[in-house]
Symmetry: C2
Subunit: 293 residues, 2 copies
Amino acid sequence: MEKIKANLILGDCREKLRELSDNSIDLIFTSPPYADSRAETYGGIRPDKYVEWFLPITRELLRVLKPDGTFVLNIKEKVVNGERHTYVIELILEMRRQGWLWTEEYIWHKKNSYPGKWPNRFRDSWERLLQFNKNRKFNMYQDEVMVPMGDWADRRLKNLSETDKVRDPSKVGSGFGKRIANWIGREKAYPNNVLHLATETKNKNHSAVFPEDLPEWFIKLFTKECDWVLDPFMGSGTTCRVAQRMNRNSIGIEILPEYYQLAQVDIVPVSEFHSVQLTLLENKGDYGSTKSK
Amino acid sequence: MEKIKANLILGDCREKLRELSDNSIDLIFTSPPYADSRAETYGGIRPDKYVEWFLPITRELLRVLKPDGTFVLNIKEKVVNGERHTYVIELILEMRRQGWLWTEEYIWHKKNSYPGKWPNRFRDSWERLLQFNKNRKFNMYQDEVMVPMGDWADRRLKNLSETDKVRDPSKVGSGFGKRIANWIGREKAYPNNVLHLATETKNKNHSAVFPEDLPEWFIKLFTKECDWVLDPFMGSGTTCRVAQRMNRNSIGIEILPEYYQLAQVDIVPVSEFHSVQLTLLENKGDYGSTKSK
DNA sequence: GTTCCGCATGAATCGATAG
DNA sequence: ACTATCGATTCATGCGGAA
């Protein structure tokens, strides 16, 4: 029986990251404060200063990540003065100069995006999940996020919200059936780089900015049990909580005491390694699903 | 009865665009040759030279677009040496320097791209649809692309009866048409910036790079009938064919004679304007029938 | 114990108003 | 002129109480 650690740190990640060892983290999954949100914290980052603010942090992250580890960054640019601001794409360019490889960009499609109507745009219902690596070879456990083939059709259908079905009858039509027919005989299917997840609106205990399924998917994909997961902007601890549930060691850094305490509520510093047969059953093929149970 | 024109031009858009008038186009919708694809054409653009190659063209596009028009660019970066190449995001930055506003980025989720993988990545199942404008004010006909609302089946009747009493009487005065508009508003919601479309083209004859639904959606959204649509990389003519079907004038430029001739097959230079009065009648019918369900 | 349904709420954005 | 604050707008989701 092994021990799984969760190291929750209160403080500014610009300082606390320095205390972490070189090449010690397998996966960094984080959602930094977007420009102009969380205004009190970190001095309320202005869009024009965002890249400058973030680069020292990514430099530290580059240092602590293992050579075969992965950094997944959840981010989206704000609208400023009627335009999408360019701080995200500038950040990508600057991070590459730091030595990061921009391996891939996943899309998180937020099925329940914020409502509203404006004369010049629709509701923003997607965010970027930028994958960065230190090397071209990195650990990727693709089979862990495969969907069991027997389930594939059912899952894909079940994952469609009622709205999707109403809006696009072809999704439940014969075309879909034909596609499924192509996969009869195969056991599993690989996912793609678009994740369909709803934002969590109603989790009273800890209101997170992303649903647990999001870190879960990337933790499955880029780590194995007992690996180390880091979230330098922990918030209420979603990433670390999921990591612990999945038997991964984790480090979370949070600057705000309120959030830090929230995270402490249900994340224990040292816990037993659960046999995971149970989790496997529960989570099998859960990519892209809503959390409805 | 008006005439709708489709002006198909054989040649290099770098030259042919010069022949178009300033401020004459309402919508530019195009999918340029991606880096390294269609290698013969345009000298086979290398990823590293892509921005440099494209910028003179976007400069001309900026010239020919009306002040309240829109440019929608369908593009996706290739994987080069294990990384997503940066030519697309560099292009955005450079186009802004030319004077373009980067208003929005839509995602085209290619919903039927079947599962697959490479050692380091999954199947790429989305592309960017970058929206650029000349001004912060531009034409946008949002009502034209509304979609059925989620669980409207449950809420509809209740909402209808309540609303009739609550709604302030002054607005009801405008009569039947107004009431229809309100009713429609209850059934339909505005879409968001993620488009779920299949890759397959309905028309087997043309192997287009995008389905007809894609230009159709943006033509509905950004133009009205008799407006002018331009595709400087016409290919087999999907954009122009859809424009013609929707009673929009169009200009298509294509450098390869084979594609040019394909486009000519079913796009006629001058065609009649089809009347669409039918739509109004259909809506009236809906008002009665939906109520009874 | 199910199913149904009311209702609060969320990484939003614009335009007007105020300092 | 430029920045900060605020109200209005809008809809998918899931919790929790009711039937």
